[in-house]
Subunit: 414 residues, 2 copies
């Protein structure tokens, strides 16, 4: 696209549901878009459905059926963004600028046939290019596409972000900006730790590891897509002009690289101890293969060899999987000759994430010392290239978050 | 379509906004559709937007602009029917039947580029045929189409009826049924004359002449389209199973043909008298050509030659045209040497319509006698093949309607 006119940058902006929740906010978005357009940029704007409008449609649907045909549900829900794009285009036009709205079907955002969680296969840029060349702001419906039968599909969770990133990749955009009611990525959840500080920069990898923080701001799926296509994402608020957070490649901002970028806590884990597994080869393999076949994601694993030649195997899964598959898990364990299955729901996983920790010795040790000094018992530990996680008692979760945040001086981030 | 399976009839049904105004009414429509499907018919169902939903969208729009881009307004408004078709399909599916919803763009209802008042150019039946062959009820968004740029268009007034008739023609349907909250066509407006009786049958031509009655039930545009394509329209209520009115070709039901089918009154007329026009050839021609060039529709015309070799020309136009073009009309009159322009807003046009009156002498005379016997002065008269209209004082309008309805015994219609 840049070739069309070398003076201009092409910017993709995405505005979430709260940013377009009512007419005043739509007008605010129009102003923000025009501000960038007036600098000489070409603007492609992706919008979600207005505030509660999706909930209203779901409310109507639930009065008709509790088990809707996914194709018809997508037919219903895609109207939400269509309303937003039409009104935003009008708001831009009302300020004397040219704009045109396009649905997913008009852009030909081709997806597979998985209604309600479709994946984007490819995008036809020709209409977008034509409209940009005419000097128009192009307003595109997020969250939606069209399948091979020309039926409307929706992209599921994180859908509008994914639309924006996919468009940025397809159009070879200079910038991709994601606006919501959150003004960036923080070192930890500011609602839990008031000292949390906003990050200027975070790598894709760190962002993905911090999913539990970022999910409210940016769905991991769109981060993956940005990473694969090397699209920098700028995360900021549509309600102010405070600087946000840039999400980009790990090699960027080398000088600014931090040992520890953020700390998170996750109470969704449940610890399962399979007691007294006979120490025969392949037992653990059979157990975890069985879990994998059910689609259960196992997170942390510990195996202890006892003196009686029997093992305890301890692992964590998420609470939802336990609820769904508890009976099956017990059956597998029983078939393997397991004597006892012990389940502990009251655990929490506290994690530190940082691209710099790979090359910095002593980070893990410092984390354990900080927890120990505060009388927080570590039940399990896992480490990955850029993440260290400790399983602790759920009652210590907030305390752990606080002392680690202080210990690594994350409040002094900026 | 009938060729696909000779056992089945293909029925196009259309349900208006009040018929799908809420979830309960959508479920009622689903039941009605299924009732016909269960008889072995193939069902194509056209629906309007739900009740007030269009007004809600217009309300949002009006907060943004008083002068919306028609393309963007169509982008906005077409969501209304899309919501209806998705929910109606779900309601049909919830009762255990197969259904699929299709927007105007998916059916490829191709229109010209006149946003907000587009005309249907052609319809691609292939998708509809495919879905019907799979045993599905096909639910189609009324009021909307797609232009050559693949932009969404709306058909304007009477749009959903027009969609239904166009589909019935294109699919060579066996029946086209138009359901609303009105249970048929009456001899006159039942709100004005409680004795008004419902007609079993009315010809296209009579229906068109009775536009002022029928507009609330059936827009003249869809009647024209039905007439051209020889599609019988069945007009009935979706709120009960009372028999409705069949609108069809004038040669049908010869035996049941009535001298007078209905009587209407129209208060939208305004009478203009151009006094003392010089009696030169071509003056009247110039006057009415001038009006035609402005797009003003002249209804009744009288010209009286006076003794002084000057004419009075009296004609009627609608009140809206007068408001818009008054200044221009005065300019034309002045340029023709007219001395005075006299405008009378307080007139009403009472009309009788009947396909049988062409061949029945004395109908006009009877109308004049009835009015005269009731001391209603006739100011102007026009006659056409199946219609006779009298211009009277506006204060006599309801009385004229009543005495004519009685005089022709229209209350004894059934």
């Amino acid at each position: 696209m840049k070739g069309d006119d070398d003076r201009l940058a092409l910017i993709v902006q995405k505005y979430g549901g709260t940013s377009v929740a009512n007419v005043d906010r739509l007008k605010n978005v129009a102003e923000r878009v025009i501000k960038e357009y007036d600098k000489g940029n070409m603007m492609v704007v992706v919008v979600s459905a207005m505030g509660d409008s999706t909930d209203e449609l779901l409310g109507l649907m639930s009065q008709i059926t509790s088990n809707p045909d996914p194709r018809e549900a997508d037919m219903l829900l895609t109207t939400g963004e269509q309303v937003s794009i039409a009104l935003l285009s009008m708001a831009i036009q009302a300020k004397g600028y040219k704009a045109v709205s396009l649905t997913g079907s008009q852009v030909k955002i081709k997806t597979n046939n998985n209604h309600s969680h479709a994946e984007i296969m490819n995008i036809d840029n020709s209409r977008i290019h034509n409209e940009l060349e005419m000097g128009k702001v192009v307003v595109i419906a997020g969250f939606q596409g069209i399948n091979s039968k020309e039926d409307f599909t929706t992209l599921g969770r994180g859908g509008s972000d994914t639309t924006a990133v996919a468009l940025a990749a397809s159009l070879n955009a200079d910038r991709c900006e994601i606006y919501s009611d959150v003004d960036g990525i923080y070192t930890t959840d500011p609602r839990l730790i008031p000292e949390a500080s906003k990050l200027d920069f975070i790598s894709y990898e760190e962002m993905l590891e911090l999913a539990s923080l970022g999910a409210k701001v940016l769905h991991p799926r769109s981060v993956e897509l940005a990473k694969v296509n090397n699209i920098n994402l700028y995360i900021a608020s549509s309600f102010n002009y405070k600087p946000g957070t840039l999400v980009g490649g790990i090699n960027q901002n080398m000088e600014k690289r931090k040992y520890v970028t953020g700390v998170t806590v996750n109470k969704d884990a449940v610890k399962i101890t399979v007691e007294q597994v006979p120490d025969k080869p392949g037992i653990a393999g059979k157990l975890f293969t069985g879990l994998a076949e059910m689609g259960v994601n196992v997170d942390m694993i510990i195996q202890n060899l006892q003196r009686n030649q029997k093992n305890d195997i301890t692992f964590t899964i998420d609470k939802d999987s336990l609820k769904k598959y508890r009976k099956k898990i017990e059956e597998i364990a029983s078939s393997l000759g397991v004597e006892n299955l012990y389940i502990d729901n009251e655990v929490a996983k506290v994690s530190i994430v940082g691209a710099g920790m790979i090359t910095t010795p002593g980070i893990a040790g410092k984390m354990f010392r900080v927890l120990g000094a505060n009388n927080i018992n570590i039940e399990m530990i896992t480490t990955a290239d850029i993440k260290i996680s400790c399983l602790i008692d759920e009652k210590d979760a907030e305390k752990a978050l606080k002392v680690i945040h202080e210990g690594f001086q994350l409040d002094k981030n900026q």
